[in-house]
């Protein structure tokens, strides 16, 4: 008799606790859903659906708005891949993006290193702010500013001449494009490298120095491997944005600066109005960027795991 109430209570409690557990499990499922919903809707509406639309348009060979719908096919892609004019444009776009990424890395790494490890603590935020400051003006204005600096009688050449050096012919060349791109995206590189270098385990540096490693070796074997994820992330960001930028090549590149992004622009807002072809080019651009992300992220992570 004494045991019956607990049994009874167990029996009556049982469905309730099952319900409780179900409720708990449901909350576990629902909570992340609720948290992810805004971003999910955002991504779905503004990334996934538009990308699918571009994919659909890219499968309509030479489709122009207002014209009757052509039948589905791979014509746009074949047009790109079978014509060395377009392949050359794609090749040049990659060269621009790779060159500006490397330039950003070479320029950005020492700066980020200095700010993160050597600059006095109280200056750091100010220095970082100084680097982010140019981002507050539009990249278009900054590109126009480069025209003023680089043109034949511009700021740079006036300065060079005044100290007795010959003028440089940079504006309207491919170097101007790389310079402009690197300038535009350097702040991103520095910020990302800084975030990565700041977390550097200094005890390892000291230990390496204690064990007799010369500074170059410490740098190559401790600093660089530890900041590899940051380097990968920075390069990735600069590479992708450079590949898609059309303002800088258009304004600074001169007569031979056609890039993929400019070509896409021409197909949509230029005389050709070939939205099908433009979408095909866009899909290739998206594909190239996605592949780069996949490869670099994988590569970056593995390095980070094995070496840090």
């Amino acid at each position: 008799m004494a045991t019956s109430p607990p049994i009874a209570s167990r029996e009556t409690a049982s469905p309730a606790s099952v319900f409780q557990r179900l409720k708990q499990r449901a909350t576990k499922l629902v909570e992340p859903l609720v948290l992810l919903l805004p971003a999910g809707v955002w991504l779905l509406l503004l990334l996934v659906i538009p990308t699918l639309m571009i994919l659909q348009l890219s499968l309509l060979p030479d489709f122009k708005p207002g014209n009757p719908l052509p039948s589905y096919g791979l014509g746009n892609y074949l047009k790109i891949l079978q014509d060395d004019v377009y392949l050359r444009v794609i090749f040049r776009s990659f060269i621009f993006a790779i060159a500006s990424t490397l330039l950003c890395l070479v320029l950005g790494f020492p700066v980020a290193y200095w700010i993160a490890l050597m600059a006095p603590q109280r200056w750091r935020n100010l220095l970082l702010l100084a680097f982010v400051l140019p981002l507050w003006t539009s990249s278009l204005l900054r590109s126009y500013a480069w025209i003023t600096i680089l043109r034949p009688t511009g700021v740079l050449n006036t300065f060079l001449n005044s100290v007795g050096l010959p003028s440089l012919q940079i504006l309207n060349t491919q170097s101007a494009v790389v310079l402009g791109l690197a300038y535009n995206f350097l702040p991103y590189m520095v910020l990302i490298l800084y975030a990565s270098l700041e977390k550097l385990d200094r005890r390892l540096l000291e230990a390496a120095a204690d064990l007799g490693a010369p500074p170059t070796q410490v740098f190559a074997k401790i600093t660089v491997p530890q900041s590899l994820p940051g380097i990968a992330a920075g390069c990735l960001l600069v590479f992708i944005t450079s590949l898609g930028d059309f303002v800088v090549p258009e304004l600074l590149g001169g007569a031979s600066s056609m890039t993929m992004a400019r070509l896409v622009y021409n197909q949509f807002l230029g005389a050709a109005r070939n939205w099908g072809f433009g979408s095909g080019l866009s899909m290739l651009l998206i594909l190239a960027v996605s592949l780069t992300i996949a490869l670099l992220l994988k590569y970056g992570d593995r390095k980070a795991d094995t070496l840090v």
Partner: protein
């Protein structure tokens, strides 16, 4: 407005029709968003009519005040506050003006269904022809437009819109060469660029516009600048390839900041832009080349989706009225196609051959017309020209 100074603000008040790269680039991001929206509409062409209907009702609801608001979509240099104030005073219709920077932007917006509120648009000649073909323009009732008879003969029945059935011409100009007369002396024809290629190396630019650039060599070769003949187009581009190594850039308004201080010696330019730059440097001169050039016209039209057609006619009549137009056109420094307006202009302005070229020069000029699917060939050769 200071003449020198930071780029965009200085540009703004005299932005020329369709020919300003700056705004075009800066709105590109926005255009991207617009295009994304378009995909849905244009990918299902059959659903088009329902879309536009929905658009029209939506915009009617948007301007609940209904008949007393007129939305116009225009180039920034084609109106000013005084002009709008004059119209509002005369008619009691409130005007809301939005601006665009290229015909293609305007077209993309209307096609995407984002332009349902506009009752007045300002397309250029070739765009008018294209939009007529696409049934996007309302056929005009000439009884509503008594002043149409005052147009100069050439614009009574322009080739892009015979009989002005769908549009009225508003402003026109040419595409020629702006050059430094102090350094180069008189320049007469396009030939000059090829003959003096060495001296001009990296000191000349052509427009960043496939049709205008192809038009140069097509005219030199004696062909129409709107040819659809593949052999002629290829011949024209082969000539451009010869000139290419000496070119500094293809740019629609980047030449300006370089030719004024003397970095550039010669540039391919629209007459309105050239006149503007000449005002900043007396050494500069503008010429319409003797083998002929492009003559362009920007018109005014009513889209088929217009919610307020009555107000649109009122705007057209206001623009055509010589009394109000003469003042506006001289203030905005535009060349008018209206005889009476022209007559009432300042004699000094009227005698400006750069704004109003002499008859014999104009006779050799030609408007750009759509080239149909040949545009794909133009575009491919243009990509080649700008990438090698």
């Amino acid at each position: 407005m200071s003449k020198r100074g930071f780029y965009p603000p200085r540009r703004f008040p005299r932005m020329s029709p369709g020919r300003r790269r700056f705004l075009q680039l800066s709105t590109a991001a926005m255009a991207g968003a617009v295009l994304t929206n378009c995909a849905g509409n244009i990918a299902q062409n059959d659903a088009d009519s329902t879309d536009t209907e929905a658009e029209a009702t939506a915009s009617n609801e948007g301007s609940a005040s209904g008949d007393d608001t007129l939305h116009i979509y225009s180039w920034s240099s084609y109106f000013d506050d005084d002009m709008i104030a004059g119209f509002e005073e005369a008619t009691g219709i409130r005007v809301v003006a939005d601006i665009y920077d290229s015909n293609e932007t305007m077209l993309a917006r209307l096609q995407a269904g984002g332009g349902g509120q506009y009752s007045i648009i300002y397309p250029s000649d070739y765009m008018i022809e294209q939009m007529i073909e696409m049934d996007m323009l309302l056929e005009l009732d000439h009884d509503e437009l008594p002043d149409l008879a005052d147009l100069i003969e050439q614009w009574q029945s322009p080739p892009y819109d015979p009989g002005n059935d769908y549009s009225i011409p508003y402003s026109w100009g040419t595409t020629g060469l702006i050059y430094n007369v102090a350094e180069l002396g008189e320049v007469e024809d396009w030939e000059y660029l090829w003959e003096n290629q060495e001296e001009l190396t990296r000191r000349m630019t052509l427009l960043n516009d496939v049709r205008e650039v192809a038009g140069i060599t097509l005219k030199m070769l004696g062909y129409s600048n709107s040819t659809e003949d593949a052999a002629e187009v290829e011949e024209a581009f082969a000539m451009l390839e010869e000139l290419k190594p000496a070119l500094s850039a293809f740019t629609t308004d980047g030449w300006r900041d370089q030719i004024v201080p003397g970095d550039l010696l010669i540039a391919h330019a629209y007459s309105v832009d050239a006149l503007d730059a000449i005002a900043e440097n007396d050494d500069l001169e503008y010429v319409v080349p003797s083998s002929g050039a492009t003559v362009w016209t920007d018109g005014i039209a009513i889209p088929t989706t217009a919610p307020n057609v009555e107000a649109a006619y009122a705007w057209m009549n206001y623009v055509l009225n010589p009394e109000s137009a003469a003042e506006v056109m001289s203030r905005l420094q535009l060349a008018t196609p209206n005889k009476l307006t022209l007559d009432s202009l300042d004699s000094e302005l009227k005698a400006d051959t750069r704004l109003f070229p002499p008859e014999e020069v104009l006779a050799k000029c030609e408007a750009l017309a759509p080239v149909g699917d040949a545009i794909d060939l133009y575009d491919r050769l243009w990509t080649q020209l700008t990438s090698t």
